[in-house]
Symmetry: C4
């Protein structure tokens, strides 16, 4: 079967992954309405394509906090890559480096940060952090990430507790015995997932902890999980360098807005003071173009990256990225933009439907 678009990878993963793993990756909270809205919302955005622009030379590169990447799509932090492919996050790191883009490695990786670094030396990587009740654990992870050359620190702020994902509860989801959350070994008992698992995360984290993180490192801090202008304003005031508009793939609070809808108010509030990114619902190159037209500097893919891994590991993920890259370039050209800098709000309108 030819892999023509990202849905082909999704179908493959659904067919070949163990049900418990597929369910875990696919899960949304409660009725999954926010998860599904992340995708549906793109259909309500219409392009206003311009014609007769010289698009013979296309430049789709962009910069993340000053570092160039090949196109404005990175890898969002997701956990447990070994559930998708034996080499786990090492494959992810290799694919991201090969495609010259950014990989945000999750605290909940099944490889150590050292392994990830060693797998693809010199790749652009950020480290995603959950703050634990035992702050020493988090501090140690941050320092390790710094030492290993990670170039950004992504604080996930929308998981004081884990969302209710019905299928995971039904399946009694937990990691298979041979997989470990290697970055947390010793810090707590790994095999008990879900609510007890996350009881080690600190639900008392507040904006003031941004200052504590800042005290640990000079790395740029990116905050992930912002959906309102009020929180966007607070993020800027607390000195972060970037914001990821995210609803955790619809896995946390069901009933929240699609990220592409929330992006509008966040971008308007931020007024260019920090970079704004987005994850959730990206399935086609034209989705990327819509997000950039609405003000995102870059988007990150979560589930599609896992489907790519499930298909053929590092090679599969590269294929996913390459398809997105081709589609993004083509969409840009057909919309009349020869470089990312030409993309703007004028390119899209919200459908009255």
């Amino acid at each position: 079967m030819a892999m023509v678009c990202l849905s082909d990878f999704e179908a493959y993963a659904k067919k070949y992954l163990p049900k418990i793993a597929w369910d875990f990756f696919a899960a949304g909270a409660d009725d999954c309405s926010t998860r599904d809205e992340n995708i549906l919302a793109y259909q309500r955005i219409r392009f206003r394509p311009r014609i007769l622009q010289d698009v013979s030379v296309m430049d789709i590169r962009t910069k993340l906090l000053g570092t160039e990447i090949s196109f404005p799509v990175g890898i969002a932090p997701t956990g447990f890559h070994q559930l998708a492919w034996p080499d786990g996050e090492k494959s992810t790191a290799r694919a991201a480096k090969a495609m010259n883009t950014c990989y945000i490695a999750s605290t909940y990786s099944t490889c150590t940060l050292e392994e990830i670094s060693a797998a693809a030396p010199g790749g652009l990587r950020w480290f995603q952090l959950y703050i634990h009740r035992n702050r020493a654990v988090s501090q140690q992870l941050v320092q390790q990430a710094v030492a290993l050359g990670f170039q950004g620190l992504v604080l996930t702020a929308d998981l004081p507790y884990t969302g209710k994902r019905r299928d995971d509860v039904r399946n009694g989801f937990c990691l298979p015995p041979h997989m470990k959350l290697k970055n947390l070994e010793g810090a707590f008992e790994v095999c008990k997932m879900s609510p007890p698992f996350h009881s080690l995360l600190d639900p008392s984290v507040t904006w003031n902890d941004i200052y504590w993180l800042r005290s640990l490192t000079q790395l740029p801090i990116i905050i992930k999980g912002i959906l309102t202008k009020e929180d966007a304003e607070l993020a800027v005031r607390h000195g972060v360098q970037g914001i990821i508009v995210s609803n955790h793939g619809g896995r946390q609070l069901d009933g929240g807005p699609a990220t592409i809808d929330a992006l509008v108010e966040v971008v308007e509030a931020v007024q260019g003071r920090v970079e704004v990114y987005l994850d959730g619902g990206i399935r086609k190159g034209s989705d990327v173009l819509k997000a950039l037209a609405l003000g995102a500097k870059c988007v990150f893919i979560g589930r599609p990256a896992l489907w790519g891994l499930a298909y053929k590991g590092e090679e599969g993920l590269q294929e996913v990225l390459r398809i997105l890259q081709d589609e993004f370039r083509l969409s840009m050209a057909l919309a009349g933009c020869a470089s990312v800098s030409e993309i703007g709000r004028h390119l899209v309108q919200f459908s009255k439907l």
Copy 2:
């Protein structure tokens, strides 16, 4: 099968209840459009979740007219609980007490008010009243409720006649011979249900009858069935203590608004002068949060309580309440609220769809 969410109880009840009982509980008037809208309307409300709030200590308690309950979900008045479980309303009373919440016992109970009281002494209970053509019957019931320690009187105001529930007509629904409307024995012949049944209710009741009720008791009067700002204003002027925004689960006038939609105009009209509650369409903890964000002090569940009873009687109903409680607490935390007092209008927006 694990009972993970309220839909699981619904599926169980549909499978195991006799069809005639299931149909009676599930019935909506005419095309059931209002019944279904009660649920669909929640999907058009989107959260605006706030992050990085300290939600380590969650307080989900609230007060109903000054009396504390464990969380803002009570049991709405529904009839004929023995159709769902042999112990009928006695089980309902026990579950409500165990979960420390309010149970509104229906005039159309299959247990006497004495039995209900004795089953769960000290539980917070309100009594739901229909006004009969023979006012002495109603007066006697009110006095009995007062004597038994019921703490509120809920006047159902949207049933001058019974709505047309097609399946009940087709099924020729009536109570099985061994069940009785025990609070009304002697007052009228029980076995003839539907239109003739309700011909003993008084369709001439008007706002002035609130004064008559007030003359019978000092209990707080709560009026159930309000859907407009005009009637909300009238209710306040007539001295009620509370309003339940309700369309009788979509069983009366088909084509009326979803209760969560009507709540907005009622809350705005009432301006905090009396407490406003809601029933209809609550299926998840996040629905409760949406209702509170729009101004409800508490919500009441009807059909889900019956599903819980049908599953395992008092234990099943407790399970339903516990799930709602857990989901509500989690939704609050994920929306950034540590206590009920932090919930407000800013938490939600109406989707343009």
Copy 3:
């Protein structure tokens, strides 16, 4: 099978009528979108029901141009009733009289006007007219209707040519040999239906022909087929006594508005100068209530009357009318109205959906 609501009659008719007859009655033009919109549009109208009104004595009578009818639902003009029931329009006339409402007999009846009159002497009837190229034919019909005691003249104005009803074309629809358009015998050859059939109607009819009609009779003239405020204004200026907002059951121009939607602008334009009625999409008593709330004085049913005939002739049609009557009375009571005069615009709102 119990006949509980109008859909039951529809299902019966679909099952038992010959396909060619069912298709003819059910047909809409082109994609049938206007036919279907006639029904869907009611779902976008929400009641604002009022409670605690004295509805112990219900008065659902109304008047059509001064003549009292038992409730505001009459029989719209439809053709070929013998396709539904052997006695054809005679049964229709009997049922309408028995239920004390108005029957608009069609030019395209399969009984003569004399037969219709004789079947139910003294019944309230209006005569529906198509203007033929040969004006003498029309003039003679009008004079006959006057002589037979018809009390109104309904000019159908939306059929200069017949709409394209795909199924009729596929079926090669024409009347069976033993049925005749008895009011037109001699005037033209009956057995060739569809386009050729209607080629005898005059597509050059204009507003001036209202004056010609007026010259023939002093009967009230009601114009059927108005969908815009502009035409409503013209109708009033040309001295008609009533307007039927109609799209011919969606059988003429596909893509036109639902009649309940068009009613709003017509009522607003007319400002009470003439009576405004509606046909199309009435399937429940609550639909009647919505139409009256939006300003219709009365509604007329087309297809449901035919389903009633197909079920049991005059008796079946009475059953249809009785169900509508009961539902209308109940809806009124549940909305808080004890008489038709209390129904008003405040009772409804248009859903944002």
Copy 4:
């Protein structure tokens, strides 16, 4: 099977064409959302039909840049007609001439321009041009079209690269060996379709190339692919004689607007300075009427023409055009318009849905 409406031809073509050809004709870009929107958008437009207009004499003729055609529907440029019918574009030319309308012959025809001209001498034809990297090829084609009596030059401006049509990629679509792009023979290698195929088109074309085209010929220049007011304004300023609002049948940038939606802003921007046409989504005569009411001078059909060819070649296409003509005439009459000049913006409104 009777061919009653255009969908019948679609069903026929889907059934009898080789899958690879059907897929190619049916294809839309990516998720085909724009392709489908082209059709769905018509359902959101409602007529405001006027009654009692004299429609006994109907005049449905219009003029394209001064040349009369029998009704405002022409044949849009589509490629590879031999995939639908052995005689290919020769049949198309004959059908268009027989029906006295305009045929826009595609650069990607499987017959030469000479063959097309010879097949139907004297027919009204425009030539559709893609600009090649090798401008000499394009120049030669333009000069040939002029010499052969083509009366307009249509520049397709929305295909700097080919859109991603998933089925074509999966099918490995290319022309069968016995078909050739005869107008381009010698200019490049034909058998390799899709991306490589179009790599010979020039993605550097800009508005200035309009001046180059003008330098080649005095023929009217019509620009195809405009979807915004900004580009409409630019087109007028660059001296074109006509604009075709088009999204290439949804085959280029998925996520763009339906053409009937884009038409509104283009017509408003153009203010009558040049003629505005539309293609995409026309399936019924009433669609044509809606487009004209919103300001289009004429519409063009793409896929329906191919379905007609697939059905019976020139005869089938005539049947398609005749059905559209009959439906358009009937829709006009039912909307109260006796001639094209009476069609205007007042005839339609956008549904709130």
